[in-house]
Amino acid sequence: MEFEFTTDGEKRRVKTDARSPRTEVTIDGTSYDVDWARVRDGVISLVIDGRSHTVQVARRDGGVDVQLEGRQFSFGTGSRDDDSAVAAGASAGAGGTIKAPMPGNVVKVMVAEGDEVTVGTSLVVVEAMKMENEVKSPVDGVVKKVNVAAGDSVGTTEAMIEIEPAE
């Protein structure tokens, strides 16, 4: 079986035959002789060259989260959920569509349709977990649409504000 994971924009190819409790795993050409056992859902025991590692693995949309020995990793997988992952990652960067950085409640909307904004103009204040966060414009442009009002609950996927970027 072969998997492709992305981490920090780089791709890693992992090849394994998981059917036997002792298996060879190859990562981009480096091979490991792995004695492994599935402890429970999401917990994998590895013994490699006498070293014992217990690793936690949890799926998420578009990838897997992994934790071992106090370090956390987030790998992307080439699954069908990839689109949403890309979209979420782009929320801050890609111009027009402004999404909430985290799920929360809209405290204040500071722009109206037709307003001109520049990079750094405060658009919306979203409150979550007792902390207020100003969402600022990443682009210069004109506010095309305002989809939220004070008091609304928002997730991280819907567009709160749409901005027509200036040329």
């Binding site: 480096t30 490699i48 998420r60 071992l68």
Partner: protein
């Protein structure tokens, strides 16, 4: 007491439920619509829905709380920390309704909530306070004169303030006016009281606080200090007892002062007297009284063996303290780390979502006061504290090592947490050296994360990810299978494990 209603949520509500159960006192919790499946509801004897998710309509709704107490037949209320814990109007309402408020009297609460009145009270008892104004200024000229008198830098503070809200550092006279205006405006909208005053700024201090217990018969003891200097966003994240810099002489002096301060306020029940200790470690100043059980109370419990929540209940029931100052001692060293749902890589922005995997650290000397479980959805409505990890060991070095191990053995996947960040703090040379002034984070953690994972660790993560996914797909999804019995697998283990040796 017939029954205690716990008006809180998360780890502290769970903590109080357990204390009640340990004491054989029935207890009930309240929950908002966002918390039906939260741990405090699962752990409770009784649970009453109190309102919709927003705290103002549930955990802060005094009428609803009183109605819930009536509904379950509670005759006492434990407020935990936060929410209504230090609200003197709520305490007064309980008193009027004949409900025992497990905490100080509403009079004491009202006094300690007012920073200026507190300072006056302390001054009258010769408790050292930070040089500064004893009332708000008459006008801007008055502020300017007072500031010049005590010398810059100064601190503009809100009289009703807390959590750093409305606090402004002013290093030169020209910034004073703007700071006072901002501070006053923020305080007005946050606390409904725009009174501000000026104090001398103590630079690079340590935050040292003394736990006290006072019964209703005039007995008061202190349970030694906690050092809680390490803070981000004006919130503590690492606490310990003893402090690495407080010696026995200073400890005795500060402890006696804490008792004096508590008595001066007519304080009863459990409370904390906060001090600033200057950079030299010689002069200390009264800061405020925290009139509640503190988030960091477990470090005191670990080193003294005293159960503070139990003592709160005993005191509220009218009992006399079972011990005197001479009976108390500190054994070993305890450290607490607060585990928040927040992203240290992104300005500590809080994080919500489903906890997809959760593993607690185990072993001797480890205590985990926990408000979460695997599969739980962290709601967006409340404070992002998830749990508190506390270790106890023979000395500070052993406690540091144990905390590092415990943090490394803890897993929370699915949301961002400060676990790795905390590990780096405890691992740092500055922490090892006890250089835990309040500027710790800006001074020692500004370049975090310094190191990235080794290739080897990343490869292990990739191996486990691939093996985990391949198991899933071979069984058609994350189905929990019956584990094979040893009889089934003896042969394959033998082949698997014995080959290379």
């Amino acid at each position: 007491m017939k029954k205690i209603l716990i008006v809180n949520r998360g780890e502290i509500a769970v903590r109080v439920v357990r204390a009640c159960r340990d004491m054989g006192i029935p207890s009930a919790v309240v929950y908002s619509d966002a918390d039906r499946a939260s741990l405090h509801v699962l752990e409770a004897d009784e649970a009453v829905r109190i309102g919709p998710a927003p705290a103002l309509e549930s955990y802060l709704n005094i009428d609803a709380v009183i109605a819930a107490a009536r509904e379950v037949g509670a005759d006492a209320i434990h407020p935990g920390y936060g929410f209504l814990a230090e609200n003197w109007r709520f305490a007064k309402r309980c008193e009027d309704e004949g409900l025992t408020f497990i905490g100080p009297t509403s009079d004491a609460l009202q006094l300690v909530a007012d920073k200026i009145r507190s300072r006056e009270t302390m001054l009258a008892q010769n408790v050292p306070i930070i040089p500064g104004m004893m009332s708000s200024g008459k006008d801007m000229k008055d502020y300017r004169e007072k500031a010049a008198e005590m010398g810059y830098p100064v601190l503009v503070k809100a009289s009703a303030g807390g959590g750093g809200k409305g606090m402004q550092i002013v290093r030169e006279e020209e910034g004073l006016e703007a700071a006072i205006e901002t501070s006053s405006r923020v305080a007005g909208s946050a606390f409904g009281d725009d009174t501000v005053y000026i104090e001398k700024l103590i630079e690079r201090p340590r935050h040292i606080e003394f736990q006290i217990l006072a019964d209703m018969h005039g007995n008061c003891v202190h349970l030694f200090e906690r050092e809680c200097s390490i803070q981000r966003r004006h919130q503590k994240i690492v606490e310990e007892s003893p402090s690495p810099v407080v010696g026995s002489e200073l400890r005795a002096k500060m402890g006696a002062t804490a008792i004096l301060a508590a008595k001066a306020c007519g304080y009863t029940n459990a409370g904390t007297v906060e001090f600033l200790l200057d950079e030299d470690g010689t002069s200390f100043y009264f800061l405020e009284v925290n009139a509640r059980i503190q988030v960091e109370h477990p470090v005191t419990e670990m080193v003294t063996g005293v159960d503070l929540v139990r003592q709160q209940i005993l005191i509220a029931r009218g009992e006399k303290l079972e011990f005197t100052q001479g009976d108390l001692s500190q054994t070993g060293h305890a450290i607490e780390c607060r585990i928040y749902a927040e992203d240290p890589k992104n300005n500590f922005l809080p994080s919500s979502g489903r906890i997809s995997l959760f593993r607690e650290p185990q072993g001797p000397g480890i205590r985990h006061d926990c408000g979460i479980y695997e599969g739980w959805e962290v709601p967006v409505h409340y404070d992002p504290i998830l749990s508190k990890l506390i270790v106890h060991a023979e000395d500070r070095d052993a406690a540091r090592a144990r905390m590092k191990r415990a943090l490394g053995d803890m897993s929370i996947l699915g949301i961002a947490t400060c676990l790795e960040y905390l590990w780096s703090i405890i691992d740092s040379e500055a922490y090892a050296a006890g250089e835990t002034q309040t500027d710790f984070i800006e001074k020692h953690m500004s370049d975090w994360p310094t190191s990235t994972a080794s290739d080897e660790t990343e490869h292990l993560a990739l191996i486990a990810a691939a093996l985990s996914l391949s198991t899933e797909s071979s069984t058609g999804g994350a189905v929990r299978e019956k584990a094979p019995s040893p009889w089934d697998t003896l042969g394959s283990w033998r082949i698997g494990a014995g080959g290379g040796r």
